[in-house]
């Protein structure tokens, strides 16, 4: 039975410079000392990854249970308990007029303290450092529930008695500086202290969460190190926003492969008419097929030190992968001062089209042109993207037909090279025929 406890307000604020040492372990943290004995509720999702519209039995959880009652409801509870640094719903937000529908939010409170950069930004893979801030130090009041696979056919919620003794628990915790309502962190196998790097099992867990939530407006995102992840402890972010992201609306073109659809049924397309070059993965007979394709692509990228961001969209049916190079450009002084002044670090949400702006002036003057220019800086160049894409395909076992090489040279109308960021290709609607 979930009950309300009176808890002291805001103990852990993981964005603070001095995360501090846990005060012994009566702190009820997420470390090995406290978590196994905790009584956190466990949401156990069922094995069938694509839940069908079933008739509602008396004991079966209603379809909106996971997202509304459990996740959003518990989030609201933490709001009432004062655990967030500010009320994000009091932050003004708007859709920037234009064709793409970039979303801007004015949030002056989110970046009051400087983000600690506790690790190098030029290496995508770095070892976990227990001395630096990580999620085992977070207080349990910030955790909403555990999220794990059930043995059986039905999802159910139960209170853990600490005696499962099986796998390492995965938790869903609040983000105390939320971008939007319902902003949470999914931390797979928190006790295993995994560094921020993608592996197949964790990625599948993330897809399962998207699928379980069952709403196209609840998305998950991942930032690698070097692509503006701030904590080197494996985590995904998620939140709810009931408008489409610009990237979700962008047209795509399937990348033909020799096998037609890959054996697993997953198709890979590339984004068109979008400032950041990216790949879109969809389909798959099982969720795991999709998860593995994306995970293997990410594994190649991180092994080759290419920072990237991932957006899980459409309830886990579509996954966007963006290799990026902004941090490197920033370090080399190649980004214009005007863009730097807005202090927007283009992580997965920004790339998807949701920008949080700190200054009123930037918010009021936010234009589609600004958004496009900022994001165009993030993108790999066409040549580099093509190169990376080829390697990724090799890594995931897809082969493109030979004639692709010739057509690449002929492509002039597709998203421009980053050397010409002002040019935003706008083709009249009637002339766009997609393959």
């Amino acid at each position: 039975m979930l009950s309300i406890k009176r808890v002291p307000t805001v103990l852990s604020n993981y964005q603070e410079e001095n995360a501090g040492e846990p005060l012994g372990c009566g702190r009820s943290c997420l470390g090995k000392c406290c978590l196994p004995a905790s009584k956190l509720p466990v949401y156990a999702f069922k094995n069938d990854p694509r839940p069908k519209a079933s008739s509602v039995g008396t004991d079966e959880l209603p379809p909106d249970f996971f997202l509304n009652t459990l996740l959003l409801g518990q989030w609201e509870d933490r709001m009432n308990r004062g655990l967030f640094r500010y009320d994000v719903t009091a932050c003004e937000t708007k859709v920037i007029p234009g064709d793409h529908g970039f979303i801007a939010q004015l949030n002056e409170g989110r970046h009051l303290k400087k983000r600690p950069t506790e690790f190098r930004v030029d290496r995508v893979l770095q070892a976990f450092d227990p001395a630096k801030f990580n999620f085992t130090k977070v207080g349990q009041e910030e955790v909403l529930f555990r999220f794990e696979a059930a043995g059986g056919d039905e999802a159910h919620l139960f209170e853990s008695d600490g005696n499962e003794g099986t796998k390492s628990p995965s938790v869903v915790a609040i983000n105390v500086s939320p971008i939007e309502y319902g902003h949470v962190l999914l931390i797979p196998r928190v006790l295993d202290s995994l560094p921020q790097r993608i592996d197949q099992e964790s990625f599948l867990l993330a897809l399962r969460m998207a699928s379980e939530a069952g709403s196209p407006y609840f998305r998950l995102g991942y930032n690698s190190l070097g692509a503006f992840a701030t904590i080197n402890h494996l985590h995904f972010q998620a939140y709810y926003l009931s408008v489409p992201f610009p990237v979700e609306k962008a047209p795509t073109a399937k990348i033909p492969t020799n096998q037609g659809r890959s054996k697993s049924g997953v198709t890979v397309s590339r984004l068109l008419n979008y400032p950041v070059r990216g790949l879109v993965y969809e389909g798959g007979k099982h969720l795991k097929d999709l998860a593995d394709m994306v995970a293997n692509s990410c594994i190649w990228l991180q092994s080759n030190n290419i920072p990237f961001n991932v957006l899980i969209s459409d309830s886990g049916r579509r996954v966007f992968l963006f290799p990026q190079c902004y941090a490197e450009k920033q370090a080399l002084g190649e980004v214009g001062q005007e863009l730097l002044d807005t202090q927007v670090n283009p992580a997965v949400w920004e790339i998807s089209g949701h920008m949080v702006l700190k200054r009123k002036k930037d918010y009021e003057e936010a234009s589609e042109d600004y958004a496009w220019r900022l994001l165009a800086e993030v993108s790999l160049s066409e040549e580099r993207f093509h190169e990376v894409k080829t390697y990724i395909f090799e890594a995931i076992g897809l082969v493109e037909p030979e004639e692709e090489m010739i057509h690449e040279e002929e492509e002039k109308g597709t998203p421009s090279n980053s050397s010409d960021p002002m040019h935003a290709p706008q083709f009249p609607e009637g002339c766009l025929i997609l393959q």
Binding site: L2, I4, G73, E76, T89, K94, H407
Partner: protein
């Protein structure tokens, strides 16, 4: 912030209707809602009038939870292979399948949310599981009196496979290449190939259908869609005059209360618990939305309470201090949880675990208050959830729905 702990709930023998009877009544209600959806507005003769219109189309009602289909034309049933019973009351996504383009689904969802017309090619699935391409033409029909979307109409025109060489010209070749004057070329080619008058409904060759990324509709097909749309709109407009609840293809600009958008109503309709929304911007903070469960809990009908202040639930035995507490919380725009004695329409009493919370829209300002009721006596839903947790779930769901209000996407793409 005022947050009271919930006192332990004792079971009392108050008047409550047994849950199963309620469920039955609800099921019966929804069937009635489907049946009455058209007749209440367009009179009993509308079905006949619609049956005379050629073409495949569906009519849906966004005011009913789940946005169900309330009418399916003969042509549609023949094309899809379903019977009327199998389709009425279901949501339109039942015709989507694994190869249906997800972006197209997104576009349809957004057109519904933004209450505008959309014409798009779509891969749908028949009852036997075979896929087929259609030109999907969606448009809203607005009630003149309240400005809300009364119904959505979805006209569907099958797009047959063109001859091989033509599809190659359009679909083959370099991916991502954008053609300049392509449209004109394609149009003239298509007219030549479109003498496929015979048997447009059956696309015998399904092989490779799912591999097609898209299939353009010809001008002929678009015309057929528009013609059917106009006929349907004309019939609906005409017959709506019989009941006085006139409709129009355009939303009339109303002074005074702007209605809740149909997308908000759709979102709220999915929340199966007792709650109301009140509008603090309007004088006397009236109720602007009430869930079905609220109506069954209190015994009132919707039209009796919309526009009224929430206080009709209070009575002589309701503690004044608690009411004061609620008012104070509202003053400072905070949430509160209280327990108070409330009255149903028939005068019977119940202990109401009430949670009141401000709900902000995209401007960051409070747009509504949500009041979530739990009858202390009601049988627990067996999920082991505290009532308060269920209440907060309602608040969360309402907050995300309202947050996107006034976050108007604007005309992102002109629909053709």
């Amino acid at each position: 912030m005022v947050a009271l702990t919930i006192p332990s709930i004792g079971r009392r023998a108050e008047n409550t209707s047994p849950p199963s009877a309620v469920a039955e009544v609800m099921a019966g209600c929804s069937r009635r809602l489907i049946d009455q959806s058209l007749t209440a507005r367009y009179s009993d003769w509308i079905a006949e009038a619609l049956d005379e219109i050629q073409g495949c189309f569906l009519i849906t009602d966004p005011g009913v939870a789940g946005h169900p289909i309330v009418f399916a034309s003969h042509g549609f049933l023949a094309m899809s292979g379903y019977s009327r019973e199998e389709v009425l009351g279901r949501n339109g996504r039942m015709f989507q399948g694994p190869a249906t383009n997800r972006r197209s689904v997104l576009e349809i969802r957004e057109a519904i949310r933004e209450e505008r017309t959309l014409q798009i090619s779509l891969l749908n699935y028949r009852k036997d599981g075979t896929p087929h391409w259609i030109l999907f033409h969606l448009f809203p029909v607005f009630g003149v009196d309240d400005g809300r979307v009364a119904h959505f109409v979805a006209v569907q025109v099958p797009i047959p496979r063109r001859s091989r060489s033509l599809s190659e010209a359009r679909c083959g070749g370099a991916r991502g290449r954008l053609f300049g004057a392509c449209r004109n070329e394609v149009r003239s080619d298509c007219d030549l190939g479109c003498n496929l008058a015979a048997d447009l409904f059956v696309d015998v060759d399904n092989r490779g259908l799912e591999a097609e990324e898209s299939r353009e509709a010809s001008e002929q097909e678009k015309e057929r869609a528009s013609d059917a749309a106009n006929s349907i709109l004309s019939a609906l407009t005409q017959y709506s005059k019989l009941t006085g609840r006139v409709v129009s293809s355009q939303r009339s600009r109303l002074a005074g209360i702007s209605p809740l958008s149909s997308s908000l109503i759709l979102s709220l309709g999915r929340i199966k618990q007792s709650f109301v929304l009140t509008d603090p911007q309007l004088p006397d903070m009236p109720i602007v939305y009430a869930s079905d469960e609220f109506l069954s809990l209190t015994g009132y009908s919707r039209h009796e309470i919309l526009g009224h202040n929430y206080e009709f639930l209070n009575g002589p035995d309701t503690e004044v201090e608690v009411l004061h507490q609620i008012r104070q919380s509202i003053q400072v725009e905070c949430a509160c949880t209280v327990r108070l004695l409330n009255y149903r329409k028939d005068g019977s009493l119940f202990w109401n675990l009430l949670h009141v919370s401000p709900v902000r829209n995209a401007s960051g300002k409070v747009a509504f208050y949500v009041n979530v009721q739990i009858d202390e006596n009601a049988k627990s839903d067996g999920l082991g959830l505290s009532p308060h947790m269920r209440q907060l779930g309602v608040v969360g769901a309402v907050k995300v729905a309202v947050r996107s209000l006034s976050l108007c996407a604007g005309p992102s793409r002109p629909s053709s």
